[in-house]
Subunit: 280 residues, 2 copies
Amino acid sequence: MVVTIIGIGLIGGSLALSLRQTDIASRIIGLDRNPENQQKALELGLVDEVTDDLASAVHRSDLVVVAVPMDAMLTVLPQVLALVDKQVVIDVGSTKQQLLEAIKDNPKRGRFVAVHPMAGTEYSGPEAAIPHLFDGKTLVICDAESSDADAVALVESVFQQLPMRLVYLGATEHDVHTAYVSHISHITSFALALTVLEKEKEEQRIFELASGGFESTVRLAKSSAAMWVPIFRQNRTNVLDVLDEHLRQLQHMRDLIAQENYPAVTDLIHQANLIRKILK
Amino acid sequence: MVVTIIGIGLIGGSLALSLRQTDIASRIIGLDRNPENQQKALELGLVDEVTDDLASAVHRSDLVVVAVPMDAMLTVLPQVLALVDKQVVIDVGSTKQQLLEAIKDNPKRGRFVAVHPMAGTEYSGPEAAIPHLFDGKTLVICDAESSDADAVALVESVFQQLPMRLVYLGATEHDVHTAYVSHISHITSFALALTVLEKEKEEQRIFELASGGFESTVRLAKSSAAMWVPIFRQNRTNVLDVLDEHLRQLQHMRDLIAQENYPAVTDLIHQANLIRKILK
């Protein structure tokens, strides 16, 4: 099939690589607002052609992937849907409620399937695209009942071939769960980087002493503001709810250490260790 | 040389593997308070023999490694030093000030070299031992001027052969820096696990939706309380100082999101991104 990818960054570019490698896409057309990204996407072989002609790209495609930050998504998705006839359109965004609310009365709503591949890295742009990013990961399909059955079937078929595991959620549920298992991790990582950069003025020491543990908790702090601020904005209520709980947990641990109540600190760590049951 | 390792867990066991693989150790004697760990260390080939006879082990050794949790360290290290003649003794502990203060008047102080290999994983026990854990990592040598020159020279030679990069710090400095680049990461990870376990009652959803970002920020929450509570206790002042700064940073980010001041959130993320300069 012919696939158009709008936004050829980490996610759009990695999806292009996967769709080509699995022979799902016979031709990939790329669009990116940034001419440099267009050029790099061509050079890196992520896409077969780039264009600024959205209408032509959509008309020549079977599947249109909108992989832009969530603020731009609110503008771009309706533009794409206005051009759609039989094509299937997907987003790959991290928040769903506001987007699905915004297009709920769109006459082409049925051609759109809201999906969220639970995969990524802290890097962005076409150079960040990597093969096999999605292999074995989870794809969330949101509010599938609002999409046409044939559109859902096409999306299921494409992503099962990557292969990805499919999970079906309502948009409200999706936004709550991702606040816990994705959005909060980015906030704590940004705050941890700020803490260390603020207080540890000897950067050479951070460099010398940082080991795997520090790197793994702080690596998400390299993530792009252009991607994450719109996510925090669109999922603000859930993010604040989780963040408030996290602040309570941290403050509680802080107070127990301040009070030298080490048996209680031990109990809390034993409780935290239960995450072993869930993450291998 | 003959090496005795007291405490054959993640660090002691991994060091045994490295000392054997580099042919630095011709014989490794293991001691562990836990008979099961002794048995496993033998089965896994981490050590050539196990014994409960500390005096005999020390007398037959050139190098004695004390790799026990920091609370036990305060008891075990003086017991070892009381048995030492020409042998060199090292700890591999994560906090230094309290330990070095406790032994500062020990008549065998010169035979002891305080070191901290900046490497580890979230697992513990002899089965957690892995080859090459220390390759290319940093070894901090603390207060080297309080150790005999020949003892420091032997330790430098051993760890340079692993190979590790040597960094020299005072104990006070060491404890401040490790609060930033190691201890705080563990506290935020424990608190993040507690947050998610407390609020996300649908464990199946965590399992399905958790991707690399969540796993990397939360993996340290699998770490052992037996190891970490004594570290928080002995480095309490620095840990509280860093934790208070982290709470301020998190609260600030929370307030900006609550106030919908997204330009300021963007600025904070750009500041946090500066960690890219330090961590590749």
